[in-house]
Amino acid sequence: MIEREITKIQELVYELRVGDVMKRGVIKVIPSTQMSDLRAVLRDNRISGTPVVEEGRLVGIISLEDFIRWLYDGGPDCAVVDRMTRKVISVFEDEPLIQAFNNLERFGFGRLPVLARGIGKLTGVITKGDIIGGLLKKLDIGYRQAEIHSTRSSHIFEDIVADKSALIFEYQVSGGDFSRAGNSAGGLKTTLLRLGISPQITRRAAIATYEAEMNLIFFTNGGKIKTKIEPEIIQIEVEDDGPGIPDIDQALKPGFSTAPEWVRELGFGAGMGLHNIQKCSDRMNLSSTVGKGTRLKVEILVGNEDGSE
């Protein structure tokens, strides 16, 4: 019995054509679509990538991964054409399913654009879910199960974030490097806004990061800022192996500062930073060992719009 079904499937993957099971009416973007608009396209359609089409012709593919990499780089907004993959693996409508399946397997892609042979026009998109769905439908078994499977595989951005793989961004800060001071906080701010986090929450996260970043620059040889973004919470972890803080309670008091003259000349060093970080966060934890380094953990709840600042 099992053997017979397998043989049947084997026949079907050669018999059925890509055009029989693919999704038509493809969501697509044009080369000039802005990266900042891509998030909404992916989210609203619950897809993890989309073909880039110019006058009906497929010119590239842009994926969630490209989007995340763009966020990570923190560069200016740009057109998808600057970020897309140009060498696209695609299949033709009249090819057997096995061809699409092999391409998906071999390249590890989630989806393949489907072209009409001859004119090269984009007519659809095929995923493994579509292939399984098509086969099951033909075999007349558990089609609904296949549907569930295919929506699961088409994770959108929010799902990815909600998943175990929260978005994590790391910034290296070098001590005394004043020329780039504020880059991490500025980068985080852009990223959060691009992710659709509210301006109020973004501001609190950016201020806390900025204060922590300046402390790394002024008081240590540098360190690492790690931000983890999840739908409910933003966590910011700042670590250095600098001189450490001898008395944490004292350091947290507004007005306490050991900042040298050059720091004060720049307008810093009023001893407000740590206190301000505390005000911006929903939870904060500061631990330090003299001679070893300092570790600061800040948590900001994304839903807590009117939290203190």
Partner: protein, 115 residues
Amino acid sequence: MKLQDVQQVLQAELVWNTDCGDQEVSSGHASDLISDMLTCCTPGSLLLTGLTNSQVIRTAEILDLTAICFVRGKKPQPETITLAKEKGMPLFVTQLLMYESCGRLYSKGLAVGAR
């Protein structure tokens, strides 16, 4: 208040962004301490300051400020102007002292940008 009104009230020179005149500022904040700006400056404010280093621009970016006016005729450093252009932050310079700058804007009804 529009930035062009601010410019007129303070008899300020525009350092950069000739198209910014129509932008609105909701309030004003005056300080020479970045530490203080970071604790209480309201978003959307105009910042009056005597600090001219580029860190002021970074701070203004983090705080979502609208524009910066340097007081006492202090010219911003070249890297400050470069960064301001990159971040789209309009810059002005007024010859007036901090006290008079604030007084003029306050009496014209510009709100206090602090909390």
